[in-house]
């Protein structure tokens, strides 16, 4: 009964919404999420629920795959450091609000040490510990030896390495050219561009939350929700045929899912205007092209008068539009996911003739 409810709520449309909502709550109320009480209680709750879930044979069979164990470690690491950063940031924010300055700036914390030997020794031991860990890992979890590759057969489900499963989940909503090349390219370029866009010296060398709200929220949404959480979906909730399966649901090959995806052009011309699709592909896709033009070009210009005004002033024109491009590009992913879930929309712009779809 409870398990069925969890299976139902794990469906991406609910679980993604819930994670996004919790993320927004964290940004709005960091002092609640960052408190020691909240951290302790949620740690206990997570451990108890996880132990209870492990007792389920189906869940255990998925979670104990050698490929999936790194993700458990990743989850613990990301959640732990994310909470710790909020906790320290909130503590400092209180001190800064009281006019005391961050805790890292107090005289007893300003002591300086030499890189050699303090840092180099630490790095050396961290390196040795990592090597030992990897060797032990390699001994206990052997790499699978499978039959020779066959170009006319694929395993079902065919899954990417665990760290790319978020990308594979992203590909469900996009064309391979977009989700495989353009969006990862924008992610890499965006990460490289951060020092250029973000010249704000606040937060250098000390934890803070209130002083860097937009930067932290923007980055962490892309990292924790759009990357880490999609890895969870791709790993634990996608079974044969990349169909959704709840955490306690047996991976039945014949789970029937009714789905019929429709392009925006078909909504616009056939359902909206009650006529056939035009022959010319640019006229056919005009609704999607206009929509994307408004979203990527007019929206940043319009935002300069509203929410973006202070960023335009502090960043300058080039940095502002670069930032807007990156933020809007990132927001395309959740937008496209919701469009798919609610309207079974396949592509906003669909030009398979040019291998170009969005």
């Amino acid at each position: 009964m409870v398990k069925e409810l969890i299976n139902y709520l794990a469906e991406p449309v609910y679980s993604f919404t819930a994670v996004t909502a919790f993320f927004v709550y964290t940004i709005k109320k960091p002092e609640v999420v960052g408190s020691k009480k909240f951290g302790l209680y949620s740690l206990i709750a997570i451990l108890v629920i996880f132990a209870w879930m492990l007792a389920d044979p189906v869940f255990f069979s998925v979670i104990s795959l050698p490929d999936n164990i790194p993700i458990i470690i990743l989850n613990a690491g990301v959640l732990g450091t994310w909470w710790y950063a909020i906790h320290k940031g909130v503590e400092n924010d209180k001190r800064i609000a009281a006019g005391e300055g961050p805790i890292e700036g107090t005289p007893e914390n300003r002591e300086k040490v030499w890189a050699w030997p303090n840092l180099v020794y630490t790095e050396l031991f961290a390196g040795i510990a990592c090597t030992v860990f990897l060797i032990v890992w390699a001994i206990f979890f052997k790499a699978p030896l499978e039959e020779p590759a066959n170009p006319t057969w694929a395993p079902n489900p065919a899954k990417a390495p665990w760290y790319f499963l978020g990308l594979q989940e992203m590909l469900v909503y996009f064309d391979p050219w977009m989700a495989g090349v353009v969006l990862p390219g924008i992610i890499v370029v965006g990460l490289i561009a951060i020092p250029f866009i973000d010249t704000n010296p606040k937060g250098n060398g000390y934890y803070t939350f209130a002083e860097r709200k937009f930067a932290i929220a923007g980055f962490m949404y892309g990292w924790v929700v759009l990357w880490i959480f999609l890895i969870q979906i791709g790993t634990f909730l996608r079974g044969p045929n990349w169909t959704f399966y709840g955490p306690f649901e047996f991976w039945d090959l014949h789970k029937a899912v009714a789905e019929n995806n429709v392009n925006l052009a078909e909504y616009f011309w056939i359902k909206g205007l009650g006529m056939g699709l035009p022959k010319n592909i640019f006229i056919r896709e005009i609704a999607g092209i206009l929509l994307m033009g408004v979203y990527m070009v007019l929206a940043p210009i319009w935002l300069t008068k509203k929410w973006g005004q202070k960023y335009l002033q502090s960043l300058g024109t080039i940095r502002y539009y670069l930032l807007m491009f990156l933020v809007l590009g990132m927001a395309l992913l959740p937008i496209k996911m919701y469009l798919r879930w609610f309207f079974t929309l396949k592509y906003i712009i669909a030009m398979p003739e040019f291998e170009l779809n969005l």
């Binding site: 170009p151 694929a154 590909l171 495989g180 045929n241 169909t243 396949k346 398979p352």
Partner: protein, 167 residues
């Protein structure tokens, strides 16, 4: 007195030496790069032939037939007197879909694209239908599937000669 020993090149000689040197260097580098380029291609390719004889049309039942899928990557689909050869490569990212007879659809294991038995995409992210290979009849009346020629639906090629045969 012996002839005057030349100690330096004049301008014309210098440039001709320079030209010879650069041409030699360029030729050597090009030669080496051509080896590297050649190295990118395998010596032996264990790939099935691009065309094959698929027997008589009446050997096939109505609907999807998987007998050539593992060897050649081709599904035979026969329906209402039309006979087509479908590629088994998903048009989304090139995985190999599975034929699910119970659901009567092809379903890709990578991102969940789904296709009707005739190859039209209807679910998941696949942007276009499965490609069709050229089919023809040889003088004996057997079917020849030629994978070098593909017909794409979105380009309106499924009605072309060779995209199907009437049986």
């Amino acid at each position: 007195m012996s002839e005057e020993v030349k100690t330096s090149l004049n301008r014309r000689e210098f440039f001709s030496f320079l030209a010879v040197g650069w041409i030699t260097f360029g030729a050597a580098v090009t030669g080496l790069l051509s080896f590297v380029f050649r190295f990118l291609y395998p010596n032996v390719v264990f790939e099935p032939a691009m065309d094959f004889v698929a027997g008589f049309p009446d050997e096939y039942p109505e609907g999807v037939d998987e007998r050539w899928k593992n060897g050649f990557g081709v599904w035979i689909y026969k329906k209402d007197g039309k006979f087509v050869a479908l590629s088994n490569i998903c048009t989304h990212l090139g995985c190999i879909p599975t034929w699910l007879p119970a659901e009567s659809k092809f379903k890709c294991p990578c991102h969940g694209s789904g296709y009707y038995p005739n190859g039209i995409n209807f679910e998941g992210p696949a942007p276009r239908p499965l490609e069709r290979y050229k089919v023809s009849l040889n003088p004996e009346g057997k079917i020849i599937v030629d994978k070098t020629k593909v017909f794409r639906y979105e380009k309106g090629e499924w009605g072309y000669d060779g995209a199907y045969i009437d049986v």
